[in-house]
């Protein structure tokens, strides 16, 4: 089958690899009909998350049709022919954490848990196509994928609903929603959201769903800010202001946003000396992540407010204003999304036409063009917000 493989920093390549097989009783094989490049894949593309290996198959946002199930899966849970969306987190369904519905913290789905324990103390759940530290599972930017614990994760979707309406239930829609849930939004709140990529866009719309009065969206690309505006947000281009913190204070009558959402993560951009220092330190590998957004969020969040962090961080950060965080009595909530909590309720919202997630798509291309799309997406060229790959289209012809 065709698969997008990591071949080194900024080197992706479509390779022909063997088809996946059932390895464990609760596995299933999915024939993939749609798969996407996620913003978090760009951290891997840039070589900033440790434990990628040459030859790893990328991708954690995919859906398709079940073509084989292992002997451990009951037919009422999943059977051949079912059309499913596959969440990017892998969960066993029966450990301490799964029982608490902390699905992305499953204790049993990461075979390489000990690498993660070395870095983080404990290991989160296994993820598709996201480093060996997170399980080393082959990802879904391919024609087929093996899905472990397939009786827990995959959710059946109704026939007749097009892929592009439901494929984002695999990650970014629930992740944006989780970011808004974690912000503890109360009716009347003002919510500031850094990053108008796909997760930020869904966070904007989710914040309104959860009762926010105002959403202020922060980015530097006009086409992304326009999309945020379409979602009802006031927008702030941080390259056009001297001081994001002061501007947000001015916009909120010196109270500050009640809730701040960092939908950017470890590769944040900013201007000024601190940002240049971060950039240098990250290049020299002294600091793993660049926390420009996190610093601003903590600084500007109103007293007693909440900072929610759906953006991905991988390691260690410097100069976090802990004094501000403590003395202002802030709360921070974060984590990989507990997917299985939100997939069903959000599917219902799509079915009721409350939202059509396909608005984020900017590119639909055959899988053969994935390597160039990584670069275009990373460099924000061609007004790129979201790339959906068709694993079966004939790339040579379509290109």
């Amino acid at each position: 089958m065709k698969a997008v493989c990591y071949m080194g920093v900024e080197k992706m390549s479509v390779e022909t690899v063997p088809d996946p097989t059932i390895l464990n009783p609760r596995d299933a094989i999915v024939k993939i009909t749609s798969t996407c490049i996620c913003g978090s894949d760009l951290h891997l593309y840039d070589g900033l998350v440790p434990t990628m290996e040459q030859g790893d198959i990328m991708g954690h946002e995919f859906m398709g049709e079940v073509v084989e199930v292992g002997p451990g899966i009951k037919p009422e849970k999943l059977k051949v022919g079912d059309r499913v969306v596959v969440p990017f987190t892998i969960a066993c369904g029966n450990c301490f954490f799964c029982k608490k519905e902390l699905w992305s913290l499953c204790n049993n789905s990461n075979p390489n848990y000990w690498i993660a324990e070395e870095m983080m103390g404990y290991s989160p759940s296994g993820l598709f196509g996201y480093t060996h530290m997170m399980g080393g599972y082959a990802g879904g930017q391919a024609q087929y994928a093996r899905v472990p614990f397939a009786d827990v994760g995959p959710m059946k979707v109704p026939e007749g609903m097009p892929d592009e309406k439901v494929v984002f239930l695999t990650d970014i829609f629930p992740t944006g929603y989780f970011g808004a849930v974690n912000a503890d939004i109360e009716p009347g709140d003002t919510v500031a959201i850094w990053g108008c990529g796909p997760v930020g866009q869904f966070a904007i719309r989710s914040a309104f769903m959860l009762g926010a009065e105002r959403v202020i969206a922060i980015d530097r690309f006009d086409y992304r800010l326009r999309m945020a505006q379409d979602g009802g947000a006031e927008v702030l281009n941080y390259e056009e202001v001297d001081d994001v913190v002061q501007t947000l204070k001015d916009m909120t009558g010196n109270i500050g946003p009640d809730r701040c959402i960092d939908a950017v993560g470890m590769e944040a951009h900013d201007h000024g000396l601190m940002f240049m220092m971060d950039r240098l330190k990250q290049m020299a590998r002294i600091e793993m992540d660049r926390p420009a957004v996190l610093r601003q969020a903590i600084q500007v969040c109103r007293k007693g407010g909440t900072v929610s962090v759906p953006g991905v961080y991988a390691g260690f950060i410097d100069k976090v204003p802990m004094g501000a965080f403590m003395n202002k009595g802030l709360t921070m909530k974060t984590g990989q999304t507990h997917m299985m909590r939100y997939m069903k309720p959000l599917l219902e919202k799509i079915e009721k036409d409350e939202i059509d997630p396909s608005f984020v798509i900017s590119h639909r291309v055959p899988i053969d063009r994935a390597p160039e799309m990584y670069k275009i997406f990373r460099d924000k060229k061609d007004n790129c917000t979201k790339v959906v790959l068709d694993p079966w289209a004939d790339g040579a012809r379509a290109a």
Partner: protein, 258 residues
């Protein structure tokens, strides 16, 4: 300690106290390890240099102030099952190779005795017969090897109901008594990284009891690996080498592993 009437899951010689390392040393170990892991992933001369440097820092920092107490494999994990279920699963010793990677097979001979075969260096088989020395239903099992075995080994497992219905605390250890000559070398081989191996085994047990299977990626597809990855796979201490295999086969097989 076996005479104790109450089950003690944590023991004097156990649970993470094999060495006394100070805070700054831990910092050096963790920082060095992180740097090493990071460097290994860089796939460049600079990355390799980073890995070597980081690894050295971690090793030197970790090696200092080694306590005189021999390393113990005491490992305790919280598992979401009842003590009865855990006890029943463990008491059937033939289940042990399902989660203990170095064991090739255990054959139950009678109610108290069993025959164990483990994998040694280059797939060499190490055999011993074991007998149960002490056992309390749903609470604990102790066993030791009988005279005439390749090595001297003894082990113990305790099951204790966790508070607040959180399942069962399973505490376990296996110790290989050092001897001289070839058998001593085998015992030394098995003792090497025994703590890590025991932790891995117990995590696999947890997965088996809770999820019914052990997570794996062995045998999944991948694109072309590079040489460094191939070498790292061969050196992986957590995967024992099957008997009768030669280096070339092992190398090829390990490269296939995802």
């Amino acid at each position: 300690m076996a005479e104790n009437s109450r089950i003690r899951i944590t023991s004097d010689d156990g649970v993470g106290r094999r060495r006394s390392i100070s805070g700054p040393q831990w910092g050096a170990v963790l920082g060095g390890s992180a740097l090493a892991i990071y460097g290994i992933t860089r796939r460049s001369p600079l990355g390799m240099a980073l890995a070597a440097g980081g690894g050295t820092v971690a090793l030197v920092a970790g090696a200092r102030k080694r306590s005189v107490r021999p390393p113990s494999t005491w490992t305790t994990l919280l598992v979401n099952c009842s003590p009865q279920e855990a006890y029943r699963f463990w008491r059937d010793f033939e289940n042990l190779p399902r989660f203990m990677n170095r064991l090739q097979s255990v054959t139950v001979l009678d109610d108290r005795r069993s025959r164990w075969i483990a994998l040694g260096p280059m797939g060499r088989q190490i055999r011993w017969d074991a007998e149960i020395t002490d056992e309390r239903e749903n609470e604990s099992i102790s066993w030791r090897s009988l005279p005439g075995s390749d090595i001297q080994v003894h082990g113990e497992v305790r099951f204790q109901e966790a508070p607040a219905g959180r399942g069962t605390l399973i505490g376990s250890k296996i110790e290989y008594t050092q001897a001289s000559g070839m058998n001593g070398a085998l015992a030394k081989f098995l003792s090497k990284g025994a703590n890590f191996a025991m932790r891995q085994d117990m995590r696999r047990l947890e997965a088996l009891m809770e999820a019914g299977e052990i997570p794996t990626t062995e045998g999944q597809p991948h694109g072309p690996r590079d040489f460094v990855t191939g070498v790292m796979r061969v050196a992986d201490p957590t995967r024992p080498i099957a008997p009768g295999s030669n280096l070339k086969e092992v190398f090829a097989a390990r490269r296939d592993i995802a």
